[in-house]
Symmetry: D2
Subunit: 337 residues, 4 copies
């Protein structure tokens, strides 16, 4: 940690601050510039709260040297994390493809789509049972009944199921019934939920919040990991910017960034990012080319009558041809689907 003093800080103030820091078992190295004094803190600075130091009127600002996360940090865990889900894996040289409808609507719908995406090579089935919707008047999902239908689809196809949790009180059901528990963008900093998921044994698919920085996304993974569950899959799904042509702006630079900072696998959701079905194909290919460990794609057999997000779902035939392209693309990246 680096503390930059205001240029009018007195010698006395500086000495008092150093003494205070040293009480926290850190050593302080003083860099005396011509105008300003800078303190370099050496040792375990995780116990020092930068905002306390910035609260002093004679401090200009504080800059961190080390990342604030440990368990998720590649520095302390150089190898890629590979997560096993049934017979499938996520991370490493596998390109994980999760596909399915925005929401589970009926038994026949989810089974039909599950079969189709499996045929095309998807490794996992997605489908929302509990749906976070901006409006209280929109379809909120089939809830527990939706979970039951997902289980039937799993039985029919063998595909592990991925679905979103919205509240801590559903954790027992999800832990029992679901293969990968998804935390949506809006709950990325629902810290109570994160902590409780950290006490389960299930892989967690953690989506980046609409305005979350890469560091904040990794810190939310750290929340889960700090409670014991280290099976986290990160997911880039578009961030909110001034551009309104696309629903969100897919931040593909985040993929190599996360790969450098963390050992956790990271996948991409091209459907929510763009919000338009005709962008799913080029963005999926770009995601593989940039180094993502997988994709989560909305596929619907009848998008025009889908209960939600029809405009961003692709049909099974289009998904099939996409998967063929992705296989070639994955090959260049030395991965297999």
């Amino acid at each position: 940690m680096i503390v930059i003093m205001r240029n009018d800080a007195t010698r006395e103030e500086i000495i008092k601050l150093i003494e205070k820091i040293e009480k926290e078992d850190c050593k302080v190295s003083v860099v005396q510039g011509e105008k300003q004094c800078v303190l370099g803190l050496i040792g375990d600075t995780t116990r020092i709260d930068p905002s306390k130091i910035e609260a002093k009127e004679f401090v200009e600002r504080v800059t961190k040297v080390q990342q604030p996360y440990k368990l998720a940090n590649r520095l302390f865990h150089p190898e890629d994390t590979v997560i096993k889900v049934g017979d499938e894996t996520i991370g490493g040289n596998k390109l994980a493809v999760i596909a399915g409808p925005c929401s589970v609507e009926s038994e026949s719908q989810i089974i039909e789509i599950a079969k189709k995406v499996k045929e095309s090579g998807a490794g996992f089935l997605r489908g929302g049972a509990f749906k976070p919707r901006t409006s209280p008047y929109s379809f909120q999902g089939l809830k527990k009944h939706g979970l039951e239908l997902l289980k039937i689809a799993r039985e029919e196809t063998g595909l592990p199921i991925v679905t979103e949790i919205m509240s801590p009180d559903m954790i027992d059901d999800f832990e029992r019934d679901v293969d990968i528990i998804q935390v949506g963008a809006r709950n990325m900093q629902n810290f109570e939920l994160l902590k409780q998921l950290g006490r389960t044994n299930k892989p967690i698919l953690l989506k980046r919040g609409l305005s979350a920085t890469i560091e904040e996304l990794i810190m939310s993974a750290e929340y889960i990991m700090s409670e014991g569950n280290e099976k986290i899959i990160l997911c880039e799904r578009g961030i909110r910017t001034f551009e309104t042509y696309t629903r969100n702006t897919l931040d593909l630079s985040a993929i190599p960034a996360i790969k450098r900072l963390s050992h956790l696998p990271v996948i991409v959701d091209p459907s929510h990012a763009a919000g338009m079905w005709w962008m799913v194909e080029p963005l999926s290919k770009a995601a593989v080319a940039v180094g993502a460990d997988g994709l989560i794609v909305e596929v619907h057999n009848d998008p025009e009558n889908a209960k939600c997000d029809g405009q961003q779902s692709i049909k099974p035939e289009r998904f099939k041809s996409l998967m063929e392209d992705l296989a070639v693309m994955a090959n260049i990246e030395k991965k297999v689907i």
Copy 2:
């Protein structure tokens, strides 16, 4: 609702779409331009899902005419909502000032600050018991013990207490013990929490999410209201932009915008917006000048040793002089503190 067709949409496709919309009890008015056809939907369009229409390949895009909220809409409720909290009110010609520390740290701390802010004219005491922190390793609040300390401070001073809830399982405790239940920016779209708060009888202070639009903020209020609780206080606390000098960018234009769109009272949090104590004073004055119904301000007797957010807390003396300025400012706006 307005549907803009692609310029290559066929007559047949247009007719089929019209028939489908009319089945939902809407009438359709066709505007045939030279290049493109536009459909105007007349009637109650709340049952029509724009994304289903946009899922059609021959539709360019859909534009809403009416706001998607009803209960929070000024159109259907022209008078300002005034919320009673004990002997105090929020909204109308009252300028509500909520003040106190970021987090409750000890009995003596919270009582001392409560007395000081009361002396200076604050109408409510704030103080975090459950703290949402980016890092799992940061101080997470005194939790239930913090609630107890707040109750003692209320008994000592008579000030109603405002504190943040983080999880639905605490709702019973909060409903019993707290005067205004705060929903933090990170939980603005924690829809499960919103729905359950809608079934309580307590005023809710709903903070705008870091990347939430004004419409989304009002929609989150609508979530609570749709369950029966109409006592909502909105709060602008800064949005996330590219500017990094300030922690967030306080969006004061949101105040007149919300006042025009909704009848709910709206207050401003200058402390979290800027993240720097020396900005609290000018931003507070600007908030009153722009028409806010109140302020929520972090005040700490010893910011340099505060357990969180010391850098953005002001000392009781500064708060006192701020309150004097605000009284004059409020007067111009025909309000009283």
Copy 3:
């Protein structure tokens, strides 16, 4: 300047880097942490290019300690700059109000508006002769003829005139005819234009670019000042964010920030920020409350037939009542109009 090395940087690499920096007449202070090494550079670091250091694979990143601007820096020039324009001043205890139409449309129009705003107390007349428009098919201003009409309005009213320059080849005309030369948001980093304006002797009204940081705005002022012209008035006019209800998001926190960082006067443009006439009044009052040195407001006698930006112009009567409110507001801030 602080250089943070990667944790795998070798001793040899560090020594080589230190030697290189010391050749630029800087001293280096080494802070050896447990994991990472940090270098503190002492002396005049303005000649050191951070990007060269970051180009080294063993360097993590570089952090600046000092602001990169000197002439505009309050550190080296603690007193507020006050700029004289004819008999008027901008900065200090004066609240400068610049008012007038978006664009000059005719002699009678500009004279009528000029007289009206003068009556209400405006100190300066604004009016666009050269208009930067997003579309090549929109009205581009009366150009040189517009300048002539502004001069006539000045003669009629005595108000100094403020108008925007779009290209270096107009500098001679502007230097001769105009009292304050405005640089629009889109040209804030048109460095050729800035440099050439630095060689004139006229006050420059420099607007913040739509996505410019506060530091970049001040750096653009530094460009002009580095060529000799130190009469710069900065202007906050809204930044581009994800919020689309308002045209831009007025960043009022920028006012106290700029006041702390620089000695230059700073004014606010509430008309372009919001893009809606009914927001001009509350935002103007907030701008004064937050500490701005003045305002630039669009006033039009017939907004519905204005050749541009009618939706954000207020009528002279509304301007009159606004000025009465602002006078009271200014008084609280110990300023006079």
Copy 4:
């Protein structure tokens, strides 16, 4: 164009507005909803200024149906534009690769790099002679001498040269000496420059501004085209968002979006987007996968001593291996380098 009236608009106001619009040779179709009235404007609405209509107090807002650009619009020009530059082409089934240093530093530097990038298959040489720098104290380029050195490098290698123009007064020199004239992000809305470039006969490489929407980028192309020069190459180079890990956020969704909206070729600059050399490779591959017509990449033989942007330049060897990967990638997209 669609005009949405306020719900309190009177019949009289609506009729007056319709009469006014019809005077501009547009027909008006009235859609009378239950609460609000909506007007659909039919005919050539390009002469109608939405802001004039929005200036009326009884109008809620105006929504455009057609894109505001014509010459750049794929609607009126369905085939891809292919631009010939010497023996090379940009657009169509060619993947154009422009490579070279951030700035021209010396004869030997530019010739050496030019030879290296040519060997690896680049089709064009880039190199800055006039450099837009945030600070007036940074290296500003070799200016006219830089142009001379670029010409020598072209003679040595046969590579067409691409370099940035900063001011209209250099247009004659650029038209004579340069093969593709680049307009930088900061000048994307320097309309005077755009118009004058529209009167030249040289291909223009137009970079997207840091906060420019896709529509604004195409409108800036329209500016150039409206003056007669239709040889425009668009370039995505990252937009400004809240994420600070990368210098900018590369918006790869913009590529399929632009391809749908316009017939102009569009390339990607991965170097300026990320601002870090180690991201250039994955982002380049993603750009090809998403459908870009080419790349502009910073290559330097000695990044650590580069006069600018060394941190984002890759070395010739790395460029060579990147080109091999890109050739395979291009092949999947049915393109050749």
